[in-house]
């Protein structure tokens, strides 16, 4: 089947906050309305709406997609939610892509939202319910624990010093100082990260991203509609490749050092985009930058390796040496990421896709990477830590 060309033509972001006064619907509306206004279209022009949001237990409304429909501009339209936990924010624009590429729709409004401040006593209490209810939940697992297990194994296997991992927090929280939506932009030193409060060894407070409230929307269109609306190609980022993959649901049995599911998702996306050479050198030349999922600092490194952008165990040193700085050889997370901008789950990954769009269209303002950028990748990770979602965008005038 011939796939149609699909572009993102606008994005809309709310601020990310610890405790937004707005309801989840109102957050969704801010983002969706902004995206429509930026695209210069109205809800009447929209053929379908897509809603991305992570566990219902955060906002505290069951069937959140149904609840969010009006705020996301989906009333009386073919509207649906796709949900792969933390991977949702990248999966939602993938849904937008296939709705349009298939020929089903021409203009799709995609909204990712999360309001995590509603849940008490904590987001981790809600996360507990994603574990196996017979053999794991009685032990009270939460995400910090399982990340601690994974991080320790990753460090031990490759002999990674904690300083190299801490460099990611310094970089991302520093980059976030330039992001208008950011809640935790900070100028930090590696020592600050190492000396921050211990949560579950080896995980310290500044190794992780803050829970947040926020929403991000996109308007996606077929090439034909982009022409019809007279939208400048300077404002377009084409979807060149998408991929997603789910590993075993038994998280205890997965490779703790290497996210195989990210590799599979990435290779699907590279292949779709026509990039045959999957070696790190070739990929870093082909892509201008990447926005991998960074809820924890070591996860950015883990994901860079899964994405084939660095050899196994080699991403930490690259981060430490500044290769992945915004002005480095291969910029990674120029947005400031989840670590710095904040982590309203689905919206956080939405923010990463938005960053790729903004960089490629030259609209990233103070965050703009100081070199020509033609192609970028966003990746998210989720479900019970075993789903990888990848999207590759290229500039509107890039062949």
């Amino acid at each position: 089947m011939k796939k149609r060309k699909v572009g993102i033509v606008s994005v809309g972001l709310t601020k990310f906050m610890r405790r937004a006064k707005e309801t989840p619907k109102e957050l969704a509306y801010y983002a969706a309305k902004t995206a429509l206004d930026e695209a210069g279209i109205t809800r009447k022009d929209v053929d379908a709406a897509i809603i991305g949001s992570a566990p219902d237990a955060f906002d505290g409304v069951h069937q959140k997609h149904e609840y969010l429909t009006d705020g996301a501009g989906g009333v009386n339209l073919p509207t649906m939610r796709g949900y792969v936990g933390g991977g949702t924010g990248v999966f939602s624009p993938i849904q937008g892509w296939y709705s349009i590429a298939s020929g089903m729709h021409d203009v799709v409004l995609v909204t990712t939202e999360e309001k995590m401040s509603s849940v008490l006593p904590s987001a981790q209490a809600a996360f507990n319910t994603i574990f196996d209810n017979m053999i794991e939940r009685p032990l009270g697992p939460n995400l910090v624990w399982i990340f601690a297990l994974e991080m320790r194994r990753y460090m031990e296997t490759y002999g990674i010093p904690k300083e190299h991992i801490a460099a990611v927090s310094v970089k991302n929280k520093g980059n976030a100082l330039d992001h208008p939506s950011a809640m935790l932009g900070q100028k930090l030193t590696i020592e600050d990260v190492l000396n921050s409060e211990v949560l579950a060894e080896p995980v310290h407070l500044l190794d992780i991203s803050p829970v947040a409230d926020g929403a991000v929307s996109f308007v996606m269109m077929s090439e034909e509609k982009i022409k019809e609306f007279g939208i400048s190609l300077d404002d377009v980022a084409w979807v060149e490749g998408v991929g997603w993959n789910v590993d075993t649901t038994m998280w205890t049995n997965r490779d703790l050092c290497y996210p195989k599911y990210v590799e599979k998702a990435a290779k699907q996306a590279y292949t779709m985009a026509g990039q045959k050479d999957h070696s790190p050198e070739a990929l870093r030349k082909w892509l201008s930058f990447a926005e991998p999922y960074d809820p924890f600092n070591y996860k950015e490194l883990h994901h860079l390796e899964g994405l084939q952008l660095f050899e196994k165990g080699k991403a930490p040193l690259a981060a430490y040496e500044g290769v992945t700085a915004r002005d480095g050889d291969f910029p990674v997370t120029p947005s400031g990421g989840l670590l710095g901008v904040g982590n309203p789950i689905a919206a956080a990954a939405g923010m990463k896709v938005a960053e790729v769009y903004l960089q490629l269209t030259g609209k990233a303002e103070k965050r703009q990477i100081p070199k020509d950028v033609t192609r970028g990748l966003a990746q998210a990770w989720g479900d019970l830590m075993q789903v990888g979602t990848v999207i590759i965008l290229k500039g509107g005038r890039v062949n």
């Binding site: 405790r19 937004a20 006064k21 707005e22 309801t23 619907k25 109102e26 509306y29 969706a32 309305k33 429509l36 109205t42 809800r43 009447k44 237990a57 505290g60 009006d70 705020g71 501009g73 009333v75 401040s117 509603s118 849940v119 008490l120 006593p121 209490a125 809600a126 507990n128 319910t129 209810n133 017979m134 939940r137 009685p138």
Partner: protein
């Protein structure tokens, strides 16, 4: 065609008890603040979309049809009168327990509004669709949905 599985029975089984141990504190939202503060003053506040003339009660931040933002519109006070659109008498609560005193719930269209409000119907023996009702206010109001005890025949 049913699979022949010996394990598929109604027999009692070993159970593991669990729960979703979370509760919530919801912000009422930007427009919710206006609506609930209105109830505190025993007012039914609504907002009209300028683009399509639809009046929302309770008010909203945006029109779900034309997607116009309504936050900066003037919120107007509706008359304390509504029409019963439909009703039911409930004998069980949402847990399935029998109620000692069954009561009425109704869909009520407040005069001047294009949307329908869900609340209790009180002080009535035989309600009917089309019946005109008015809110009965609590003696002390605290910006809550139950500042209105229910609606009774006008």
């Amino acid at each position: 065609m049913l699979p022949k599985r010996r394990t598929m029975t109604d027999a009692p089984t070993h159970e593991v008890r669990g729960g979703f141990p979370v509760h919530f504190h919801y912000t009422v939202g930007i427009v919710g603040e206006i609506f609930f503060n209105g109830l505190k003053e025993r007012k039914l506040l609504a907002v009209t979309c300028k683009e399509c003339s639809k009046t929302y009660f309770p008010p909203r931040m945006y029109c779900e049809d034309c997607f116009a933002e309504l936050t900066n519109e003037e919120f107007k006070t509706l008359e304390q009168e509504g029409t019963v659109e439909s009703f039911t008498k409930t004998y069980k609560d949402h847990r399935g327990n029998s109620l000692s005193e069954p009561y009425y719930l109704a869909l009520i269209k407040i005069k001047g509004s294009d949307t329908v409000f869900f609340h209790k119907l009180i002080n009535v023996d035989e309600p009917n669709i089309g019946m005109i009702v008015k809110p009965v206010w609590s003696e002390t109001t605290k910006a809550s949905l139950f500042d209105i005890i229910g609606f009774e025949p006008a």
